[in-house]
Amino acid sequence: MIKKTVSGVEEALIGVENGMTFMLGGFGLSGIPEKAIAHLVKLGVNDITCISNNAGVDDFGLGLLLQNKQIKKMISSYVGENDEFERQMLSGELDVELTPQGTLAEKCRAAQAGFPAFYTPAGYGTEVAEGKETREFDGKMYVLEPAFKADFSFVKAWKGDEAGNLIFKGTARNFNPCMCGAAKITVAEVEELLPAGSLDPNEIHIPGIFVQRIFQGENYEKRIEQRTVRQRA
């Protein structure tokens, strides 16, 4: 067994520098690497590029890094729900590359899987395809999209083991598995870190080969963005 455990978030983020590109898992606030984000705020690294489906809300998630003006560029599919983000984008302080959600996921997965680029129909004929190579296959048009290149991937899982194997929960899975092994170093934070052998190999979502560092985070806030309920009959 190759051990991937580190002592905590401080050790997990060693090597993080100004100007780097980071991938961060999560959809809305669900499944975001809360501990890594909090430590990036504390370290104060700036001029960073973040690849993440969303940009958090004003006072949580990536919104914290935005408030601190640590982010130079965001690559996302949907950035509503964040006033500071919209303000920085419209004023030109923040560089934003809006990318269709499926393309964003596949650009991560392509980096993980060793594909330099792929063709997708998403965005053909729109401003997303401007300046990109297009090609026809079987009468339909496609856009060539390159794989992402990133320095660190920060992902959040439900359970993990010392070997770096990961299991996700519910829709907190989202972009996290696609980002594992898609950057030079993948840092996984988990709610429960177990000894090797504790997890059933049949149940592993992401094998430890895609993870370089793993640690257990404490007291996850897991904030709910839209609390919707129904009445009991």
């Binding site: 606030l29 509503g80 809006l98 959600q101 998403a122 929960k169 309920v229």
Partner: protein, 217 residues
Amino acid sequence: MLDKNGIAKRIAKEVKDGYYVNLGIGIPTLVANFVREDISVEFQSENGVLGMGPFPFEGEEDPDIINAGKQTITTLPGASFFDSAMSFSMIRGQHVDLTILGAMEVAENGDIANWKIPGKMVKGMGGAMDLVASAENIIVAMMHTNKAGKSKLLKKCTLPLTGVGCVKKIVTNLAVLEITGEGFKLLERAPGVSVDEIVKATEGKLKVEGEIPEMKL
């Protein structure tokens, strides 16, 4: 004239037994409330769930189980969770039978715009570009005119496009329309709405053939 629930109710009639359906945010989300109970349908949410159920009872909300609108949800028997790449394999790979989404503008050739108003509002396209580029069966749910009374069914979209030539059917507060090679074709009128009112509210080319029936809800 229909309200938002009325539009959702009419669209629900397009949902057939055995369909996997992706519902967009807004009016489309309401469609789930009106689907017949005697047919088997699974709702997909692009953040990674198939087999979405109703909202949870108070106290049973789980931050790890949400839909694409970031709302807390539940799952039904037979549900599954998956990652974002697999979610879009379902969409791009045309495994999802029906996509229902909102729009700011639709053009007579099937172009759709729904993600950006330059200089004013930029929320992003989310999964909409992937959905419209791949889905065979796309229904747009929207109001026929905007708040200023201007038509949203145009000759040509004025806003940045989400997809080209992809919309097949539109259900508005006034009418059900189809996109044909020769523009919009009027299929049904909303209760109490005249053909004349629909013609006036439609800027793009509108084909009206014979008697136009009133919608059955």
